[in-house]
């Protein structure tokens, strides 16, 4: 892909694989749309390959200096009822989030 300097574009299978990685269920029309649009976006972004970045360190964050260490103190936080209050399916009495069966 990079040797030619231009992306080959995406196949529907590649889009389906990315969607699976991202935990997104796509329908057929979305798969078609994203196959085209992600190809367009990546073709546009391909211009970054022209930049000479030899020996240039990456920037992940612009924070100049990190906050100093702080004492590890126990402070109040959300109580369990508040934490569960927004859950779509909570077992309030037991104090759990409930999800579909995972095993068996």
């Amino acid at each position: 892909m990079l040797a030619s300097g231009m992306p080959a574009g995406f196949t529907r299978d590649q889009i389906a694989n990315i969607a699976a990685l991202a935990n997104l269920e796509l329908d057929a029309s979305e798969t078609d749309l994203f196959t085209r649009q992600l190809g367009d976006i990546l073709a546009y972004a391909e211009v970054v390959q022209q930049i000479d970045t030899t020996g240039v360190p990456p920037t992940a964050s612009v924070v100049a200096r990190h906050a100093a260490d702080r004492p590890d103190e126990i402070l109040p936080s959300l109580d369990r009822d508040e934490a569960l209050a927004g859950a779509p399916d909570a077992a309030l009495d037991a104090g759990f989030f409930r999800v579909p069966r995972v095993i068996g």
Binding site: M1, L2, I15, I18, A19, L21, A22, N23, L24, E25, L26, D27, E30, L33, F34, Q37, L38, D40, I41, L42, Y44, A45, E46, V47, V48, Q49, I51, T53, V56, P57, P58, T59, A60, S61, V62, V63, A64, H66, A67, R70, L78, E82, A83, A85, G86, A87, P88, D89, F97, V99, P100, R101, V102
Partner: protein, 495 residues
């Protein structure tokens, strides 16, 4: 009324906070149906709070925002008040805590009147990605207000509130401010706490004010800024009195203009920027050309970096702890409903198309085999963009350019082509990639006939890291010699 006028009137007793709040709520009721600027209006809560301030005037006598109504972007958590990020995913989400900026505003005497519409999870440039419909530009209802803080910009422009909070990941405060004819400030990364801001791209996100004057932006920044133990990236740098910096004196101030970057922009925008620079020159500033050789790569670099961060940040929306969960028996969704299917359907039904597009792109650029070619490459390019600015700021005090390459486009004009939409961010994304503070100030109107569709134009000024004072001083000096900030959109009924 400006923030300062409201605050002074409430402090002196010339007007009660309740009166001010009642006026604002009435305006919202009249104009919001046309604008769709608010997702939620909290009239009762606001009136109760205003009355509380009136009952205890002594306590609020010195509060910097006493009785000032404020509209808060709907991606900032408000305890007990629905916070949706304009997404179906969070349509019924009620946060159990306040964002630090919300707590600081209320601590300074502000009265929250509602939550403003925005692009879903603050992803977009036009406000058309909201799950609750687009905001309309108060200057021309068939046009975009800009995005993503479009509701905040429209609310201030239509005088539905003298102050609004926005968030800015790639221009989301400045671009809608420009397109709606108001002032919008993105502070230095780390200047304002991000605690309680629904994360989009954590190395780029920053909260800031939208207001009708530069003085009001300075006043509000003084309230918002400062270290926060809840945000490890918030900076410990001292917070100066930003309003004291507004001296009107720009003699000897050096303003850099990256001319090469401005080729091909809208002719009226170009003329307005040139005229604005003349105003600053007349006040004694020196305008010089600067070279930012990597700035032309900023937009693609931004979309590689921001989507990578977004794909990671939005992984939390899985239908377990809060927010929407797709039902097991949804239409046409028969079959096995295990945990994985629940995640995938929840995200499929909860997210809109632009959010999905960005999660997909971000997932791709972070995936094995492509990480180096895209994400790492973009991070290296980010370093070069940053170095360009560091070099420029060795010579100049601020950098000036348009905020947006065009005035507000029509609703629907660019929605079908993501790349065309992304190009609207060409002048704003660099400040986020480099962490620099930047402000948009109104600098004119398009004069294309008919006059009824005159559209605002914004000038962007960028400054040195943590030097918002200089940025605000130059912006305020410009505002003193111009009347743009005082003009009102045609939909506001004349008194």
């Amino acid at each position: 009324m400006t923030i300062r006028e409201v605050r002074d009137a409430v402090r002196s007793g010339a007007r009660s906070a309740a009166e001010v709040c009642g006026d604002v709520l009435a305006r919202i009721e009249t104009l919001n149906p046309q604008l769709n600027a608010f997702n939620t209006v909290v009239a009762d809560r606001a009136m109760a709070r205003a009355e509380e301030i009136d009952r205890d005037r002594d306590r609020w006598r010195h509060a910097p925002l006493a009785g000032v109504p404020v509209a808060v972007k709907d991606n900032l958590c408000t305890r007990g008040v629905r916070t949706t990020a304009s997404s179906r995913m969070l349509e019924h989400y009620v946060p159990p805590y306040d964002a630090t900026v919300v707590a600081r505003l209320e601590g300074a005497g502000a009265v929250i009147v509602g939550k403003t519409n925005c692009d879903e999870f603050a992803m977009g440039s036009s406000n058309e990605n909201s799950a609750f419909g687009p905001v309309r530009n108060p200057w021309a209802l068939d046009r975009i207000p800009g995005g993503t803080s479009g509701g905040s910009a429209a609310a201030v422009a239509a005088r539905l509130a003298p102050l609004a909070l926005g968030s800015d990941t790639g221009g989301s405060i400045r671009q809608p401010a420009a397109l709606c004819g108001v002032v919008g400030l993105k502070p230095t990364y780390g200047r304002v706490s991000r605690y309680g801001l629904i994360a989009h791209a954590s190395s780029l996100d920053q909260v800031g004010p939208l207001s009708s004057t530069v003085h009001d932006a300075a006043l509000t920044l003084g309230v918002l800024a400062g270290a926060d133990p809840c945000d490890a990236t918030s900076a410990a740098e001292a917070v100066p009195d930003y309003t004291a910096a507004l001296t009107g004196d720009v003699r000897g101030t050096r303003i850099g203009v990256p001319r090469a970057l401005l080729e091909g922009i809208d002719a009226e925008v170009s003329r307005a920027i040139d005229a604005a620079l003349e105003v600053l020159k007349a006040r004694g500033a020196a305008v010089v050309d600067i070279d930012l050789p990597h700035a032309k790569y900023a937009t693609p670099v931004y979309y590689l970096v921001s989507t990578a961060e977004a794909s990671s940040n939005l992984a939390r929306y899985d239908g377990v702890r809060y927010g929407f969960r797709a039902p097991a028996d949804g239409p046409g969704k028969a079959g096995h409903y295990d945990l994985r299917a629940m995640y995938s359907r929840t995200r499929a039904q909860g997210f809109g198309p632009e959010v999905k597009r960005r999660i997909m792109l971000g997932t791709y650029v972070l995936s094995a085999g492509y990480y180096d070619a895209y994400y790492l490459k973009a991070q290296q390019a980010r370093t070069l963009i940053l170095r360009d600015y560091d070099r420029a700021f060795a010579d100049v005090d601020v950098v000036a350019m348009p905020t947006s390459p065009t005035p507000a486009v029509r609703l629907g004009e660019r929605v079908s082509d993501p790349v065309q939409m992304y190009l609207m961010d060409i002048f704003t994304v660099s400040a986020n990639l480099s962490g620099l503070p930047a402000i948009s100030v109104p600098c004119g109107f398009t004069r294309a006939a008919p006059a009824a569709t005159d559209l605002p134009i914004g000038m962007q000024l960028m400054g040195r890291r943590f030097d918002e004072a200089t940025l605000l001083r130059v912006a305020d000096a410009y505002e003193r010699d111009t009347e743009w900030s005082k003009q009102l959109p045609p939909l506001i009924p004349s008194r």
